[in-house]
Amino acid sequence: MSPLLEVTNLSVAYGAIEAVRDVSFSVAEGQIVSLIGSNGAGKTTTLRTISGLLRPKSGTVRFEDQPIEKLPAHTILGRGIAHCPEGRRLFGRMTVEENLHLGAYVRKDNGVAADMSRVYDLFPVLGQRRHQKAGLFSGGEQQMLAIGRAMMSKPRLLMLDEPSMGLSPIMTQRIFDTIRELQSQGTTILLVEQNALAALALSDRGYVVDLGRTTLEGPGRDLLADQRVRAAYLGEG
C-alpha cells in the first residue's frame, strides 16, 4: 500500500537561498511521523511547501497518490491536510469560537457544532472561555486552540509545527498526550519538533533534517538510541 503522504527529493528556495535541498520522507496512514533537526534545518519550510504556501523548486509531494505540489494553498485543507503552523498563528482578535469556525470553513456538513463540543470536551478551558478573544490566552491554551482549530476540518493528516514551543514541561506533556490521543482516534500525524526526545518517543517513524536534507531515518525508538542523533540533538556526546 502506498503511503498517505510521500515527499520526494523536495527542494525549496527563497530567492537565491535554498532552505530545503533534498528532503524525502513518507507518512503511512495512522502513524505519527516526526521531522527533527536544529533551527533553520528546513523543517518549517517543508511543511509550508506541503501546504502550498511555498512552491518547490523541484521534487514532488504526493497525497493519497495525487501530486499536490502545484495546488493553491486554500485547496489543500479540502484534500484532507490540516496545518497547525509554527507560532500557532491564531486569529488573535477573534474569539475561541470564531477561530474554531474558521477551522471548519471548508466543511459543508451539519456536524460542525458537534465537533466543536468535542474540542471543548478535550480542552475544557476553551469551552469555558469560548467567547473570549484568542489573543488573551496563555501559550499552552493557544496551542490547544490551534490544535482544536486544525481538527475542526476533520483532516486525514494533521501537520503540527513545533507544538511544544515556549510551553512549560507540564503543558508540553499535555500537548504530546493529546497528539497520541488524536492518533488513537485515527488521525495521521506529521510532527515537526526541536524537542527531539519527546517527539521521537512518541513517533512511529522519525527523520533527521540537517541543512535542508533528510540525513537519517528509522523507527522513533531506534533513532532515540542512535549515537549520532544523541550527540547532535539530545545534548550528549
Binding site: 501546504s51 502550498g52 504556501l53 493553491p72 494553498a73 486554500h74 485547496t75 489543500i76 485543507l77 479540502g78 490540516a82 496545518h83 503552523p85 507560532g87 498563528r89 486569529f91 488573535g92 482578535r93 477573534m94 470564531e98 469556525h101 474558521l102 477551522g103 470553513y105 471548508v106 482549530r149 476540518s153
Partner: protein, 309 residues
C-alpha cells in the same frame, strides 16, 4: 437656533454620504492595506451610470414616476460601480499584490485620473456640470423650531437612513457570516487564512464588490439630492471619505461612519460659524484630522498598527 439646527441637518446629510463612500475605503484598506484612491472615482462614474440609466434605459413616460425611475437608477449605478471595482481589482491591483506598497498606491492614482478623463471625454456633456433630474423624491419636510423653521429634503432623509442601515448590515455581515469571518481572517493573517481553506482572491474581490455597491448607492442618492454632477465630484467626496476613514480608524466600519458624520457636521458648522465661512470650511476638517492623528495615530476606532511576528 433655527440656523444651528438647519446646519446640523445639512451636516448629517453630507456626513451620511461621506460615510457610505468611506466604508469602501475602510473595507479595502482593512483587507489589503491599500488606500484605493480611485474609490472616489467609482462613486463619480456611478453617478453618471445612474444618469445614463435614466436617460437611455427608462422610457420617457416613466421617467417622472420615481417609484420606477429610482430603483432602475439604483440598479444601474450599483451595477456600474461593482463592475468597475471588480475590473480595477483584477487588472490594476491584483498583479501588484506582492509589490511594495507604493506601487498599488500610485496605480490607484493613475486609475483615478483615467476614470475621470474617460467620463469627461466620452459622456455627452460631461465637460461641464450635468444636471441630474430631481423628479423623483422632490419633497421637503418643514419643521417649526424656536426662531424659525428647518427644512429637510426627503432625499436627505433617504441618505441618512440608507447610510445607517447599510453600515449596520455590513457590520452584521462581517461579524456574523461565514464569508465575513473569512474576510476578517484574511485581513488579520492572509497565510493562515489560506491554511483554513479561505481563497484570498475571492475574499478580496468580495470586499471590492461591497465597497463598490455602497458607492453606487451613495452615487444615486447624491445625484437626486444635489441634482447636479461633474467629473470633480469623485475627487472632493473621495477625499472627504478617505479623511473620514482615517479619522475613524481605517479598517473600522464604526469608525468610517462616525468619521463621516463628524466631517459632515464640522464642514457645515465651520461654514456657518467659523472665521472665513464656507471659503475656509475645508481647512477645519483637516485641522481636526491632524489633531486626531497627533494624539491617536490609529484613528478613533482603529487597531494600533502592530508589526507581525
Amino acid at each position: 437656533m433655527a440656523t444651528l439646527l438647519q446646519q446640523l441637518t445639512s451636516g448629517l446629510v453630507l456626513g451620511a454620504l461621506i460615510a457610505l463612500i468611506a466604508l469602501g475605503y475602510t473595507m479595502v484598506y482593512g483587507i489589503i492595506q491599500l488606500i484605493n484612491f480611485a474609490h472616489g472615482e467609482v462613486f463619480m462614474v456611478s453617478v453618471f451610470g445612474a444618469l445614463a440609466t435614466y436617460k437611455w434605459f427608462i422610457p420617457q413616460s416613466w421617467q417622472g414616476t420615481w417609484q420606477i425611475a429610482l430603483p432602475c437608477m439604483l440598479v444601474g449605478a450599483v451595477l456600474v460601480a461593482v463592475v468597475l471595482a471588480v475590473l480595477m481589482e483584477r487588472f490594476a491591483y491584483r498583479p501588484l499584490r506582492n509589490a511594495p506598497r507604493l506601487a498599488p498606491l500610485i496605480t490607484a492614482l493613475g486609475v483615478s485620473v483615467m476614470l475621470k478623463e474617460f467620463v469627461r471625454n466620452f459622456f455627452p456633456g460631461a465637460t461641464a456640470a450635468v444636471s441630474v433630474p430631481r423628479a423623483f423624491v422632490d419633497k421637503a419636510i418643514t419643521f417649526a423650531v424656536p426662531g424659525g423653521t428647518v427644512v429637510i429634503q426627503s432625499t436627505g432623509i433617504l441618505l441618512v437612513v440608507v447610510s445607517i442601515i447599510g453600515a449596520v448590515l455590513l457590520q452584521t455581515y462581517i461579524t456574523r457570516s461565514r464569508m465575513g469571518r473569512a474576510m476578517r481572517a484574511t485581513a488579520q493573517d492572509p497565510d493562515t487564512a489560506r491554511l483554513m481553506g479561505v481563497d484570498p482572491n475571492r475574499t478580496i474581490v468580495l470586499t471590492f464588490v461591497i465597497g463598490g455597491a455602497l458607492a453606487g448607492l451613495a452615487a444615486v442618492l447624491y445625484g437626486i439630492h444635489i441634482n447636479t454632477v461633474d467629473t470633480e465630484a469623485g475627487f472632493l467626496n473621495g477625499i472627504f471619505a478617505f479623511t473620514a476613514a482615517v479619522l475613524g480608524g481605517v479598517g473600522s466600519i464604526k469608525g468610517a461612519v462616525i468619521g463621516g458624520f463628524t466631517i459632515g457636521v464640522i464642514k457645515t458648522m465651520a461654514g456657518q460659524y467659523f472665521p472665513g465661512g464656507t471659503e475656509y470650511d475645508l481647512v477645519w476638517i483637516f485641522v481636526l484630522l491632524i489633531v486626531v492623528l497627533v494624539f491617536r495615530p490609529q484613528g478613533l476606532f482603529g487597531e494600533p498598527e502592530r508589526v507581525r511576528a
